[in-house]
Every structure is written in C-alpha cells, then in structure tokens.
C-alpha cells in the first residue's frame, strides 16, 4: 500500500503505473473477449485494410482486426513475460540465495554453472530448448527463463553476501534462530526490494526477447497473437501495410516504457538511501 502510494506520488512512476494498468485492463478485456472483433476471425474480404472506423488499426493479411489482436496479444506477451521472469526469479533467487549463504564449494559450483549458462549464447540457449521441446508458449517461457535465471542468481547473490554480514543476521544467530528462519525472514524479506526493481526491468527485456524469438519463428504459435509474432508477421508487409508493424511496435515500446518507468520509480522508492533521506 505504502509503495503503491509512493508510486502514484512519483512523477514518472505514475505514468508507468498508468501504462501498466491500462495494458492489464486491455489484456483482461482481450482475454475475456471484450474486443471489437474476434482476434482470430478472418474477414478475408477485408484483407490488409488500413485503419478505419470498422477496423480501428486496420487488418492483416487474413483480414483479422489488428486492434483486437493487439488486445489479445498484450495478454499473450504479458503472460510469457510474467511467467518467464517469474520462473527466472524463483530459480535465480533460490540459487543465488543458497550460493551466497553457504558460500564455499556450493557457491563455486552454483555460480560457475550460472557462468556456464551466461556464457552460453542466449539466443542459442533459447533456440536449443525450443528445437528440442518444440515451440509454444510454455517453451518460450522456459527458454527466456533459462536466459534470465543466471542474471537473477547474480543479482541475488550480491545482496545476500552483504545481508549475511548485517548485524540483524548476527543478532538472529545469537538467538540460535534456525537457518530456515534466517533465510526466509531476514534474507528473503530484504531481497524483495532489489528483486522487485530487477523484475520490472527484466519484464521489459523479456517482452523484447519474446519479440526476437517470434522474429526467428520460435515464439508464440499462430494464429494466437503475441506482440512479437504480430511484428514478425508484419515485417514483409512493411510497405503494403505499415500499420501492421507500427501498432504492435508502438504497443511494445509503450509497454516497455511503462515497465521501465515503473521499475525506475520503484528503485527510487525502495532505495535504502532514499529511504534514509525521507526518514
């Protein structure tokens, strides 16, 4: 609640929050079918029509309504972005937490494995996973998560190393608190701030990665719309039907802008230094 209030008060965070809220609303509408047209229905007589009153953002090669597809696509892209970043956060946090907390050999093994994943070319990693398992929403999620997990592991491990030297952790040890208690209450709770920021920024990157994968034909499967897939389908129609590229492109840009603004605002708000200043 406090954070939400602070974001609404934040000059740019407010804009970010508004964008995300609008997108979520559009996505929910898209999901429950409150769209101008069925996003999958092909009005094949109205192929490649420019924006008009009946098709607000024009139609695509199959005569599908771009506006409706965008609404559904936002949902699809957001699901992939949220799920992949969520998975990466979960795995990365566990690995980073354990590596940082136990240190020594475990740390070495965990972090070197993460280095291995990092050193593995990201797009290739995604490609291998998709090629082995076959493309689809779940695979995209796993592939993007595999790319971001090591980054999250690194992001978490740093603060863990600092946190475990903090006095309140020492204090907990003098009480004889269990490791589970310390890890959950003292470590995790204090990792929320750096993680939240990283998560919002990673969401933006995940949206881009999803678009990139779709560009290479490895992302969402047609006819389901995702922003990236819509753009990649539109690229050879750039000249005949520029709206097909422009609207999803702007939607992605604005969405990422929203996440970035929101993330930056969160960083300002959760930054311990700014907290010190305000108290």
């Amino acid at each position: 609640m406090r954070i939400l209030k602070a974001i609404v008060a934040h000059p740019t965070g407010r804009i970010g929050a508004a964008i995300i809220a609008i997108y979520l609303l559009l996505a929910v509408c898209g999901y429950f079918g409150f769209t101008p047209h069925d996003p999958l229905q092909q009005f094949r007589v109205d192929r490649l029509k420019p924006p008009s009153s009946s098709y607000l953002m024009g139609t695509d090669l199959f005569g599908r309504d771009t506006a409706s597809r965008l609404m559904a696509g936002i949902g699809q892209s957001f699901i992939i972005a949220f799920a992949s970043v969520g998975l990466a956060t979960l795995l990365g946090t566990i690995i980073g937490l354990l590596a940082g907390w136990w240190g020594g050999l475990l740390d070495g093994v965990f972090m070197r494995s993460m280095d291995m994943l990092l050193a593995f070319p990201a797009i290739l990693l995604a490609l291998l996973i998709i090629a082995i398992v076959g493309p689809g929403t779940a695979t995209s999620v796993v592939a993007i998560a595999a790319v971001y997990t090591p980054i999250f592991a690194r992001v978490v491990r740093g603060p863990v190393l600092t946190l475990k030297r903090r006095d309140f952790v020492d204090a907990a040890r003098t009480f004889g608190s269990s490791q589970g208690y310390i890890l959950s209450r003292h470590m995790l709770l204090n990792l929320v701030a750096p993680l939240t920021v990283q998560v919002t920024l990673a969401l933006a990157w995940a949206l881009l990665t999803e678009a990139g994968l779709s560009f290479l034909g490895l992302g969402t499967q047609p006819p389901a719309p995702s922003l990236g897939l819509m753009m990649s389908e539109a690229r050879n129609l750039m000249q005949q039907a520029p709206w097909l590229l422009a609207f999803p492109g702007l939607t992605i840009m604005l969405g990422i802008l929203g996440f970035n603004l929101f993330g930056d605002a969160l960083r300002d708000i959760l930054d311990p230094r700014s907290q010190g200043r305000s108290s």
Partner: protein, 319 residues
C-alpha cells in the same frame, strides 16, 4: 597475479560444462545432418545409403565416443571439420570473427560515445527539461526491438538514398577502410541504439550517486570548477557500472548479433551458429558455442581488469 591465475583455472571447467551441454543438447534436436542436407528426399535413401552418409558425417558412432573423440581433438587445438563447409571449424570461425568483433566494437563505441555524455548531462541537469528529454529518448531506445530499427534503416537507405550497405560478404577494414565503415556503420547503429540507451540510463544513475559522494563535496570545497568536478572527479568513479553493463553487452555481441546479421546479411558468428544448427553441422555448432563462451569469459575477465584499472582500491587491494 594469483587472482588472474585462479580465474583462468575456472575457464576449462566452465568450457567443458558448456561443451557437454551443447554436445548433447544439439543431438537431442530431431533431425540430423542427413535430413538437413537432403530434406524430404532423405526418405528415399536405402539403409545402406543412410549408413554411408552417417559415416561421412561422423554421426555413426555412439554419442559418448563422438564426444571423447571431439574432446581429445579440442585438447590438441583441433575443433574438427565442418561437414557443410568442408573446412576446419576453427578456420571458419576465425574468418567470421573479425566482422563480429568489429561490429561489437563499433556498436560499443557508438553506445559509449553517445551514452556516457548523455548520461552525464542528464545527471548534472537532474530533473530539468534536458534530463527528462534524455531519459525519454533513452527509454524509447531501450524499448525498440532491434529488428524494427534495422528494417527501418534498410528501408530508408534504399528508398531515399538509393544505397544499401554491402551485403552478403564482409569487406575487411584492412582491405578497404571506407567501404568497411560503410558496410558496418548501419548495423552498428542498429545495435548501438538500444545499447546507447542502456549506457545513458546507467551512466545517469551512477553519476547521480557519485555526485552526492563526499569526495565530490571535497572537490567543490577546494574550488574545483564545475566541469572538472564532473569529468575529473565524479566520472571516473561513476564508470564501474557502465563498464559492467558494457562488458555484459559486449560479451553478448561477441556471440554474434543474430537478428542484425540476418537483416543486414552479414556473415558473422551469430548467423554462422544459427545456420550450423539449421544444417545440423554438429562440429561447427560445438566450435561456435565453445568459441563464443570462451570470448564471454575473456570479456568478463577484461571487465574485472577494467575495474582494477579504474579503481585503485581493486588494483592495489583494499586495506
């Protein structure tokens, strides 16, 4: 430097891990070199023919035997033979690498050349119109997919200027520097666009932090002029996160920029790897991934050395 030695010691470990990962996962993908070469026609092959081709492609042995053979080759500096190119993998990679390296360097020059001054400007003008402008541009830059930038650049160049960068083959800088620049500058701008945006954002944030540090106050207290406070006292301290980011990005770029290489038809490492996967040229895939991973590790090491160069506390060891 024992630290350096220790870092170098972990390299083989990581590389072996990477090689195992790629060696087995690439073989888990359906299809092999035979289907890649013959497509649906491979269905016409008799078992004898299939066996002959498998032998030719070196995929007739059990996977572990193949790995052992390959690894012992690698130990002797032999990354194997590419079945599609008919030449040693290392030769092919080293042919493709100059382009990738140059493209990565050029993008980084663009990114740092624009991003650092823009970030510093924004930080010193914090919350004023120029700062807000820079930040908005940076965010837009960060949120535009690279393929959109690339496609638009090519379209605009060809339609309005009747020009496209040389495509298909690489014009090395030592052959013709001008033509080389004409070929790579636009792909580099495509890559540098988002990269510069990230650099701007991180330089701004880091600079803002540093400008509130005590030693900046000290510099002001001794009467150091504003410009010198920013560039001489604050900037060197603000560069560490910029170096970290640039290192990571540069490391990724050295792995090849698949999408930009595809759009601008540049024979770089990224496409080489992608095509090798498409053609199930296992030796080439393994070689590429190993090479890319090695580069990544080296870049990480260089980043650490750059920290040391930037920060005497790291260089000389904190007390």
């Amino acid at each position: 430097m024992p630290y350096l030695a220790r870092r170098l010691l972990t390299f083989p470990l990581i590389l072996i891990g990477v090689s195992l990962l790629v060696f087995f996962s690439i073989r888990m993908i359906p299809g092999d070199a035979i289907t890649a070469m013959l497509g649906t026609e491979s269905g016409l092959l008799t078992p004898v023919q299939r066996q002959a081709l498998a032998e030719y492609f070196g995929i007739d042995q059990p996977v572990l035997v193949q790995y052992g053979r390959w690894l012992s080759g690698v130990m002797q500096g032999d990354l194997g033979l590419s079945v599609t190119h008919g030449r040693p993998v290392l030769t092919i990679i080293l042919e493709r690498f100059p382009l990738t390296l140059e493209l990565a360097l050029l993008s980084m020059v663009i990114a740092l050349g624009i991003g650092v001054p823009a970030g510093v400007l924004a930080a010193t003008q914090s919350e004023r119109p120029s700062d807000v402008t820079v930040r908005i541009i940076a965010m837009l830059g960060q949120s535009t997919p690279g393929f959109v930038v690339g496609l638009v650049i090519i379209y605009v160049l060809s339609v309005y200027f009747g020009f496209v960068p040389t495509m298909g083959s690489f014009v090395p800088i030592w052959v013709d520097p001008l033509a080389n620049l004409a070929q790579l500058i636009f792909p580099a701008i495509t890559l540098g666009f988002a990269f510069a945006a990230s650099v701007t954002r991180i330089s701004r944030a880091s600079m803002l932090d540093v400008l509130s540090d005590d030693y900046v106050r000290t510099a002001r207290a001794k009467g150091v002029p504003k410009l010198s406070v920013v560039w001489h006292h604050a900037l060197p301290n603000a560069l560490i996160p910029v170096v970290t980011l640039s290192g990571v990005e540069f490391g990724y770029l050295l792995g090849g920029a698949v999408i930009v290489e595809q759009i601008f038809a540049l024979p770089g490492l990224g496409r080489l790897t992608l095509e090798a996967i498409g053609q199930r040229d296992y030796a080439l895939v393994q070689g590429c991934v190993l090479f890319i991973a090695f580069n990544f590790l080296i870049v990480n090491l260089l980043v650490d050395l750059a920290y040391a160069a930037l920060d005497p506390r790291i260089r000389l060891g904190a007390r």
